[in-house]
Amino acid sequence: MSAKSKRRRQILWVATKHWWAAAAKAKFGFVSVTERREIFAREMRYSFEELGPAFIKLGQLISIRPDMFPPQYVFEMEHLRDNVRPTPFEDMKALIESDFGRPIDELFDDIETEPIGSASIAQVYKAKLKFDYDQVIGDDMPAGTELAIKVIRPGSLAKIRADIAVVTPIVNFIHKFKAFKRFNTPQLLEEFSESITSECDLRIEGRTSDQFAFDFRDDPYVMTPAIVWPLTSRNVLTMQYVKGWHLDQSEEATANGVDARFLAIYGADVFMKQVMVIGRFHADMHQSNLLLTPDGKICYIDFGIMGEVKEEHKEAIAQILAATVYADAKRAILYSADIGLVVGDDERKEVIAKVSALMKRTFSKSPRDVRGFAIGFLSILNEQRVVVPRGFGLLVKALVVVEGCAQTVYDDIDIVEAAEQFTTELVLKHMMRPARLYKKLPLAIDAAINELIG
């Protein structure tokens, strides 16, 4: 039996095994739709973890696509864990030496052979810089600076591509069934193939990191590791090693004089700025991609997944966020149309009523439950068969992740409250734009005159 057939058999076996397990746990359909979806989503996650890197990455893609999958699947995929055994250092060393054409000792000082981080497609090692380097953003980096070297596992892209080739006929077959049609799995697979190719080219991540550093160059509380370009290639990303604490170690950070609570709230503002001012946002902001540094900054790392906001959508997004802050469902739905989330005339009244009730339920307690709101909101759209634009879905998901990060530090942090001042100021700024005033002032004067003489 060929390796391809063997792998196909293994994939089908694992998928069937977990499908039956889910069906049994869901009492063969005798549970609520939500519960059924939760059970199937969990088993799907288990099967992805069992099938390895390609499926873990696919799950990560599902976790940022609330426009395609029901929220239960999207949020379950956040819990995906890499169970991949680290690749031996000798193999990684060979790849580094091949990429730079020189022995590793000529490239780095004091490289540690044990990885400080290991994930499905890459491993990270610590070393020291051999020479002074004038970085793209910021001050010079002296020789001896501690470095973090991210290296793609040899052959990982080829393995993922092989898995894609194996599952493509299965996915095309599944797509013929009506129940699966709306997930548009062939398109998802194609997108997955493109995104994984780009994620495996670490130069792209390095450029995104530099761009982020440039976007926040004036911000005293935000930083990213500087990239060492002469020691960077498609498979190797060399950057400054940043000491710090992950969000779940905030107590330790606080004990060392870092105002973790301030930074957690500030992180929400940084996200708002990324979305509504800059137009590019870090869409993979889970705990391990953020550090609290000893000098009181938030360090953003791993720029594998980024979201983009079109210039013409920024005002609508600011209005939607402000409407969410002020629990105004009608306004939120009205402005959602400007970014492609169109609720039909027949359903609008019902959707507004449902969203309004959801806002009351999730926003009446303190802290407000953004995650609960997002799951409920996406479920309402899903039930009403409203098409969710990709950017909108990614944004909602990212907002939930921002809340999760902030609440890892302090579980009473209310990110809606933290965003209140920022969104209010931004909406006012948009409202006071000369072009808008020029359009609106005659109407306002007309209304005033009518009021006076009426």
Binding site: S98, D99, F100, G101, R102, V136, I137, R203, G206, R207, D210, Q211, F214, R217, I227, W229, P230, L231, T232, S233, V325, Y326, A327, S366, D414, V416, E417, E420, Q421, T424, E425, L428
Partner: protein, 114 residues
Amino acid sequence: MPLRNADVMKFLAVWEMVHEMADEGMKASIERGKTTEKGEMASDPSAFVDGLAAIIDEKKDKIKTELIEGRDAEFDKDDSATARAVEEVRFEVAELRGRLETMSTTLDAIAAKL
């Protein structure tokens, strides 16, 4: 003529009175806004106005401090479109240098294998 003067004076007095009332109203609103807890702004329209007045007042104090200190950061940032453009070009050049450094490394590696 005296009648006209009296009209102008009355107009100015009314103008001043409007300003005085608006000023007092604004000050009272700011005071209320300062005591408004975060998150309460959404509770009703007047709480929103008070909260907004407090935000504006905070901004005003910030600008005042900057002016006293001889800085004009808020306005500098908004007005210096040219400086921003120069900064962006400088970044693009630096980024290009980064790309060239990587390219040069790749070429060196290829040369070493030949």
